[in-house]
């Protein structure tokens, strides 16, 4: 019955089409996402208590890895859906939603949730690919919710680059299926569990070729450099709640697809470290490219977008560093998603208050609006790896994993990139927080939900930074155990 998880958002999306006013559409979106989050949470808990769930003859399956990502997805969507209510209420008059565009937003929002759920619950690599492609198509119109010349440009780039990129991933899926040789009639050739079971007998040459295509394809969607060209445009032009789900989960969903294929590649290549080296290379490349652009950035949302390139690079680097690195990469996934969602939330509201995303004009945010100014400052601090936030911890474990693996060059390059980002972003963060507040800035009031949205992610990041609960460690170890593919 797992397919119901993907159908539920569609049903609630249809329901929100019936709502007469903008307020009701957004309120029903938030409440239906809350209900769906509850159901998903139940599935996630069941998986961690009792082991993987398989349904519909092996088409759908949720194990520790997908359950972990399912949980992150629901956190991001839940926060973003509630944030959307307050964000759209505070839009300037010329950008205000009308009931029609609000319904379109809600329908696509639910559609994106459904497609991402499909990616996570499918045991079939073909269906997984169909889900990834569907997220591209469903989220495209969310970027240009407000139609303008630059939002159309961003949407077109996103649509073409991601469609073509993800098409390469399908070549990868086909090549992986081909590596199994001539299967017996009726064998489920694209099923993850089937291929995983056969992994030792797969043709390593074809598996390697397939992984290159998968890395390019899903890497495009995950914003890995040098395939990231669409990312800063789309993230900066989309309305803030949409940027938040893009950065907070859609990129991670694409990496999740790579994590699914990784154990098969590792086993088929006899743990030779071939795939690890590729991951380390692209990870470091992303970190360094992002650092260059962060140093010369003046647009707040583009700054956050390049932070996404950097952090997805860090996760990729971790994935290439053996079991400990994979553990840290998964930990980093949650930390980055929480932090980046808050970052885009704050950037969105601060952008509305200052009527600009130019960081040279945004000064004195802490006096203009302590809540969102503080949220922005806190999230940037956490993003650049200031202790004791959890991102500092996960980066530390990745460094330890690199040291254990004696990858000293990787450590040096990682520290170089992270150091540049630290200096570049901290300068902006301090100016924005404490600079001279312009006279004409009028702040808006914040309600209880706004406060929860800002304080909850920061609190979780602080707690996880100083103390990792035993239960959470077990969750991470279970999920990491799937990605390692039994690597010693």
């Amino acid at each position: 019955m797992l397919w119901l998880l993907a159908v539920l958002p569609i049903l609630s999306g249809l329901m929100s089409l019936l709502m007469p006013s903008v307020r009701l559409v957004l309120a029903s979106t938030a409440s239906s996402v809350l209900v769906i989050a509850g159901i998903d949470l139940w599935v996630v808990v069941t998986v961690f208590m009792k082991g993987p769930i398989t349904s519909n003859g092996g088409w759908f399956r949720v194990d520790a890895l997908s359950a972990y990502h399912l949980a992150i997805m629901m956190i991001v969507f839940l926060l973003s859906s509630f944030y959307a209510v307050s964000y759209f209420r505070n839009e300037p008059d010329d950008l205000r939603l009308n009931p029609g565009s609000a319904r379109r937003f809600s329908a696509l929002w639910h559609g994106a949730l459904s497609a991402m759920t499909l990616v996570l619950i499918s045991n079939n690599l073909g269906i997984m690919w169909v889900g990834v492609e569907a997220t591209t198509l469903l989220t495209a119109f969310l970027i240009c919710l407000h139609i303008s010349a630059i939002s159309l440009e961003a949407t077109w780039k996103y649509l073409i680059v991601c469609s073509v990129g993800v098409a390469f991933a399908f070549m990868g899926v086909l090549l992986l299926a081909a590596s199994a040789g001539s299967p017996v009639a009726g064998a489920p050739i694209l099923q993850w569990t089937y291929l995983h079971g056969l992994a030792r007998t797969l043709d390593p040459r074809l598996v390697k070729l397939s992984f290159i295509f998968l890395l390019v394809g899903y890497g495009t969607k995950a914003g890995i450099a040098p395939m990231h060209s669409w990312l800063p445009d789309a993230h900066s032009q989309a309305p803030a709640p949409v940027s938040a789900i893009f950065s907070g989960f859609m990129l991670n969903m694409a990496l999740y697809c790579l994590m699914r294929h990784l154990p098969i590649v590792k086993i088929a290549t006899g743990y030779s470290g071939w795939a690890d080296n590729l991951l380390i290379f692209f990870g470091l490349f992303s970190i360094l490219i992002a650092a260059v652009f962060i140093l010369s950035q003046h647009d707040l949302k583009r700054l956050l977008a390049y932070h996404s390139v950097e952090h997805l690079g860090i996760i990729l680097l971790g994935l290439g560093l053996g079991p400990l690195g994979i553990f840290a990469a998964l930990f980093h996934t949650l930390n980055h998603s929480l932090c980046k969602t808050l970052g885009f939330f704050s950037a969105g509201r601060i952008g509305q208050i200052y009527a600009s995303h130019d960081m040279r004009k945004i000064t004195g945010t802490l006096r203009a609006n302590p809540l969102w100014g503080g949220g922005l400052f806190g999230s940037i601090l956490a993003l650049i790896g200031v202790a004791p936030f959890a991102i500092f911890m996960s980066e530390l474990i990745i460094l330890k994993a690199a040291a254990d693996a004696q990858k000293y060059l990787a450590i040096a390059l990682f520290l170089l990139g992270a150091g540049a980002v630290f200096v570049g972003a901290l300068r902006h963060a301090i100016d924005m927080a404490w600079g001279e507040k312009p006279e004409d800035i009028v702040s808006t009031s914040n309600n209880l939900i706004d406060r929860i949205i800002v304080i909850a992610p920061l609190a979780i990041l602080l707690i996880l930074g100083v103390w990792m609960p035993a239960g959470f460690r077990t969750v991470l170890e279970l999920a990491a155990g799937i990605v390692t593919g039994g690597q010693p």
Binding site: G126, A178, S182
Partner: protein
């Protein structure tokens, strides 16, 4: 039966070359539609054979790629009132040369790729598929008009469909339908985008969408 697949792949490769050399958008749409129909027929003469599933899929693909996509695209160029690809980044003579070179490369790649389930007597399917994918990519990067980029994407899709036939013995029906649904939504979304772009900018030159930088 296998003789037929070779003929089909030959037609596919010829359509590729014709695409690189034609400037009339309506002509390009027609060529891509023809390619879609040919791709739809291919499984009937290879893996599927004349089975109910084979006919169902072939009919589905032909209606989608041969009728619906061309109509959507024709409406788009009419609304945006563009007829020709003026001044592509790579001229038509050079494009034809590059197209031929890409085809040669794909024949070389086709012999190098060790596909186990690749049936004997289908020697043109793999190089044809790779060639079509490469030509599709070439059209996307070398042409200015947004419509031609969509056509390039469709050509690439066709190539991947042929590649799937060579690589995997049988893709489950549900996945085939999922892929076609995605392709349909993709073309639908892209044509709506082109409509908005032509209204906002008074042109559909994708290379002039270059405000966002850094």
């Amino acid at each position: 039966m296998h003789g037929m697949t070779e003929n089909i792949m030959a037609v596919l490769l010829l359509i590729n070359l014709a695409l690189t050399a034609s400037s009339r958008l309506a002509g390009c749409i027609g060529l891509v539609a023809m390619q879609g129909v040919v791709i739809g027929l291919l499984p009937l003469f290879s893996q599927e054979g004349f089975t109910p599933r084979g006919f169902f899929l072939a009919g589905f693909v032909i209606v989608l790629k041969g009728v619906i996509f061309p109509r959507l695209l024709t409406n788009t160029i009419r609304d945006a009132s563009v007829r020709r690809e003026v001044e592509p980044f790579v001229g038509y003579g050079a494009s034809l040369m590059i197209g031929t070179a890409l085809t040669v490369v794909s024949f070389w790649l086709g012999t190098r790729l060790p596909l186990p389930s690749y049936p004997a007597g289908m020697s043109l399917v793999l190089p044809g598929a790779i060639g079509t994918i490469l030509i599709g990519l070439f059209l996307i990067v070398s042409r200015r008009k947004a419509v031609t980029q969509v056509l390039g994407y469709l050509v690439m899709e066709n190539g991947i469909a042929a590649f799937g036939l060579a690589a995997v013995s049988k893709i489950p029906l549900l996945i085939e339908l999922g892929i076609l649904l995605d392709a349909f939504v993709a073309i639908f979304v892209m044509t709506i985008m082109i409509y908005h772009i032509s209204r906002e900018f008074d042109h559909i030159d994708a290379d002039q969408l270059n405000t966002l930088k850094g």
